[in-house]
Symmetry: C2
Subunit: 177 residues, 2 copies
């Protein structure tokens, strides 16, 4: 490979011992899985690869992927679980049973204090078409593309209020320069 | 494709309008990029695809990938920025300038109250070898594989205290059943 990554203070060469490591997923807690699944499958086209239930501890995990159409997902459940943990860039939603019935229950989005996690980001082929699609689904915005300093970048909210950045890759060529 | 995803209340068929959407990245704020870059490149073998600086707003973004060795990253910077936003499963680290000099500054990991974001997860080919590698780097643990109810799953902390789950896919076949 000709390009080894940009070099900044702290950056080290990839160690042998990290061979085969993959960034498998990001986990967000959700209040009501029915609403979250409708949002991430119905609007973003994700699929549920696996639900794992942990009855003794009272929670379920949903592993969602936004796959290219030609990818082959194993049918057999054990094989599919192993395959799920071999993928890159999944979303894991954790449902602690019963939160969906608590009127005053809400998760923290990480952008108000105390800050930490910021957002997930979807790249879309056509930003304008994606915004029209989100509008037809009455999605909430943190920032529409035309607002604020970063033009051509939108932030919407998922059903728990987590921020989702929306970008069109081909519009980002000059970003940060 | 024969397998369309597991079906649960809320799950919808992927809409045409979401074609080409990709889950590009997860963003975490970091206090000191030098330490975070040393951690994610030196221990996890990630590479910095792009740093984007926003001088007027006083922050920098670092886009990191854990790539397979045969992937070709464009050399030219504008082309590489576009390519970065076309990828799946990246990690974006946000550095608000100056936080690294504030002794009492810390980000919130999302696992103590108020809860929300939980963790990122790396899949590794050999859990035992990975644990030995983390130990040799004196990484902090939330939970070693042999602790707690979920055997064969470890949680470590990154330099800001964010949780990183470590799993070996082939050990997960019977998880949640």
């Amino acid at each position: 490979m000709s390009f080894d990554g940009e070099q900044y203070p702290g950056v080290m060469a990839p160690p042998q011992k990290a061979q085969g490591f993959r960034l498998n997923h990001t986990m967000l807690r959700v209040k009501d899985p029915e609403k979250s699944l409708a949002f991430y499958t119905g609007i973003f086209g994700m699929r549920v690869l696996r639900r794992l239930d942990f009855e003794e501890m009272g929670f379920s995990l949903y592993f969602l992927a936004r796959l290219d159409d030609d990818e082959a997902i194993p049918e057999e459940v054990g094989e599919r679980t192993v395959w799920t943990f071999q993928q890159r860039g999944l979303l894991e939603l954790t449902h602690n049973w019963g939160t969906e019935d608590q009127d005053d229950f809400a998760y923290h989005d990480g952008n108000s204090e105390p800050q930490g996690f910021g957002h997930i980001c979807f790249s879309v082929p056509d930003l304008e078409a994606a915004i029209a699609w989100f509008d037809s689904n009455e999605v909430s915005y943190v920032k529409r593309p035309e607002q604020g300093k970063m033009k051509d970048v939108a932030f919407i909210k998922d059903v728990d209020g987590y921020w989702i950045e929306i970008v069109q890759a081909s519009k980002m060529e000059g970003a940060g320069r």
